[in-house]
Symmetry: C2
Subunit: 321 residues, 2 copies
Amino acid sequence: MSAVSLALNDRSGVSEDLRARVRQTAADLGYRPNTSAVALRTRRSRTIGLLIRNLSNPFFLDVIEGFETVCAGSGYALITASSHYDLRRETELMRTFIARGVDALALAPVGGSRAAGEWHRTTGRPTVLLNAARLGRALPVMRTHVDGVAAVEQAVGHLADLGHRRLALLSAPRRRSPDPERADTFLRVVAERRLSGRILETELTAAAAGPTLDAELARPRRSRATAVITNSDHLAHVVYAAAAGQGLRIPDDLSVVGHDDLPTSALLAPPLTTLAVDRRTIGVTAAGLLLDALADRPTATRDVSLPATLLVRGSTAPPPR
Amino acid sequence: MSAVSLALNDRSGVSEDLRARVRQTAADLGYRPNTSAVALRTRRSRTIGLLIRNLSNPFFLDVIEGFETVCAGSGYALITASSHYDLRRETELMRTFIARGVDALALAPVGGSRAAGEWHRTTGRPTVLLNAARLGRALPVMRTHVDGVAAVEQAVGHLADLGHRRLALLSAPRRRSPDPERADTFLRVVAERRLSGRILETELTAAAAGPTLDAELARPRRSRATAVITNSDHLAHVVYAAAAGQGLRIPDDLSVVGHDDLPTSALLAPPLTTLAVDRRTIGVTAAGLLLDALADRPTATRDVSLPATLLVRGSTAPPPR
DNA sequence: TGCTGGTACTCAAACGTTCTAGCAGCTCGG
DNA sequence: CCGAGCTGCTAGAACGTTTGAGTACCAGCA
């Protein structure tokens, strides 16, 4: 049987003649090596784990699609799981990935790099963090993320140019944020431009963000923010709903800047001004990084930063007088 | 070692005392059975394959989320793959699922039940078709789908009540449609109500549907359809774009009925009238069917039909005079 | 006492691959 | 003409688990 293995795996030690014959009969029999046996023997499962904090977030849809396409192209299967924004579940799922012998891990973490750390410590296998620019810098993990600094700078700049003085940033709690640098940048740029800026911390779900926004929008007119920047179009939709609930019109009473440019954001009423991101590319490059590492190909960089470009549409306007 | 196996797997033939001790030391050592070895020995991988025709379709996002949640709850991992609307790729991926020893398959087929048939023939393992009401009736596979007949009846009824006389249904090519019954129903109901109805066949992608729509909307005013029914909100968005391209206003010049109620459809301008579907439940029940079959639990039905309820919003109005 | 039947446990085979060691047979240099 | 080194192939161990066969022990019964 060993000659067969050598023949099929393109390894030396077998004559061209035998190789061809083995190939032929394997094809005739429709032979497919048993993946479990291969995995058991080689300790490689040709499987990549994808652990997303929120599988129902449309943002990750294209990321996953790109990721899956690249993996499938190299014969890797994708095991997808969702941590449902639950740190404990994230750790638990990461451990099942270890038990399953997953070859590499792509992680959109709930917050913190604990899971990524444990994964890397116990397996030593390639890891990529999706959209977590500042996380696990001490860890030898890779990263693909959007340049949040430039993004926030663009958003604040745009709003300031329109004349806004009181801005708010809707953001995840600092300790759990996948990209705390955004909040830092927001405060820095706001200070530089001598504006007032408040950070509205909330869990990144519609259910949690709604009340937070209601509280802000219900403030007296002279202290209420006239523009809200969000870290996702997903949340921008929530802002739309909250504004409608408070009887505020967008953009007349409130300007909104989203982030991600989800396919439907252009179709909203009004069309959402947002920071467009090539989501699919995030997935594609993440998969590329992992595959390079798995194949021991030298990789140019461990940290891919993708640009966000401001798309001015209808949800931003000068503030109400 | 066998006693250990018996102890950990809750099987008889081992004393309570030993079982407890084994459990304890296993926990102390952080022991996790090697999944590949178990799979090799038992021919069960505790893995379920999910093969979607289009992973970037938001419709499947919640389906996948629900499906994954249920599977994870029972210790099954999910292997996700996208066939990209390619029949050949669908078959190929299905075969890699076989080689990987996947325990069950959930399939949102490109069209036809060839892949499902081959899967079931060679593995005999549980299968569920997602959203393919009329496919593979001869096969002993399960199905979760939306009641397309009732849905189309509601849509046509609503438009007829508004006064529309010329309707169009945007649909996949008949041979490849996951639910050809919709087209049949459309023609039947239109005939019953003495309306004129045309079926616009197109691949279910934005790129393909755009031109098809342009052709229809560019027709002379008196023969052009005044209302378009689509099989997805996804396509309804495309209709919005095509209408804008032809200078037609919705709903004044053209009424549109979607299907699915994607989260953003309510936020479109105008808000989309659509047939709401509980997508997550599709995934949840599909996973339930598979898990029941895997556990040899008797299952009440092999064919779950979920209702679609018409949500009248702003994209439908009486036809232009 | 001896036999039966059950319980608790141990041994070793088996799952389907990969991989190491070994064995022929051949070539080549001395 | 012999040993060293290479090539092509084979036998068998190994991966980590489950499982069927086998063994030791004990209770119950005649």
